[in-house]
Symmetry: C2
Subunit: 190 residues, 2 copies
């Protein structure tokens, strides 16, 4: 076995890129993050992980709502920018066209192919970061991102992040069908 | 605004695919999941979300350790299979070549380009799923997956999952540099 140790400061390969939208002191603010996952099936809960000191973390505690927006590749520059600039120092409120949904308080990004609107369900605290868990109350897309009524990744053109090499990556081809590719093996082992 | 509502049962687009390895009743078991994220920077914590009824959940509680293995595309069939077959009914222990690291109890998959070895840090419980948070104690790769000492996604060839259209997707090209692509905009807004 020729395994190489890479230590413990290692990341998920690759990570989906999202922009979190929230009102902070009544002003829309946005930050990029790639640490997120669904945490529960029913009710539909999603968790986003934010450094305790971030402006966004304060806004979620204030309004108890936030949005999770998945940008397309044409938004790479703006996405990278909102991940570098803190709302403490730089006003990011006019960077995107916004709309509001059921919560009335979570700013959603018009330009993103998929936007989830979330109501705060709870917070799991960790030493340097907090996991903000939101209940998804509604999600928004446009007809042009759908195929047979379902979101089509090839049309959404999202991008991925790798760390610590700090790369953004496109999504390639659809290579197999999930819950199908392993069926022959499943039948054989029954 | 021509937004279409997709409801609340919506997922992260796209999701990274991992295989969780754990000893259950002293036998290696594996399950596929795509609900995972780092939850803390320091110490390095990773969270994996598992349905409460799953065999793997029982094994993590027994051994307080687990592995997170990122498969390459040549493992799609086996990955899909371990996501369909429950260890309660089907013995999956001989499907991969295994090795053990520091914990001595978390089975790691030799064939995966990246394996994280985790010691259970805690469990955040949600209604239908539990978030198992592990401290990453070590990670393993091979020289052939590195470029300049860092993991190279193009060499790892991992794959992604989308739901509910149930697709597996390859990763495309490296399209930009993170913390760099937005720098001109950042300097302009300063």
């Amino acid at each position: 076995m020729d395994k190489v140790n890479l230590g413990s400061q290692i990341f998920v390969y690759p990570m989906p890129v999202a922009i979190i939208g929230v009102m902070v002191d009544e002003k829309p603010n946005f930050m990029t993050l790639a640490w997120l996952t669904r945490v529960n099936l029913d009710p539909p809960l999603i968790g986003v992980v934010i450094n305790k000191t971030h402006h966004t973390a304060r806004g979620i505690r204030q309004t108890r709502s936030f949005s999770v927006n998945f940008p397309g590749q044409e938004l790479i520059e703006k996405t990278d920018f909102v991940g570098m600039a803190s709302g403490k120092n730089i006003d990011k409120s006019a960077l995107f066209d916004l709309f509001f949904g059921k919560t009335k308080s979570a700013p959603l990004i018009e330009q993103c192919p998929l936007c989830l609107e979330c109501r705060l369900h709870g917070i799991s605290e960790f030493p340097t970061n907090d996991l903000f868990v939101g209940e998804i109350v509604e999600s928004y897309t446009e007809d042009r991102f759908l195929t047979d009524g379902k979101l089509d990744l090839a049309k959404m053109k999202p991008f991925l992040l790798t760390m610590p090499d700090n790369g953004y990556w496109s999504v390639g081809e659809r290579v197999a069908r999930a819950w199908e590719a392993g069926k022959a093996l499943f039948n054989q082992k029954q």
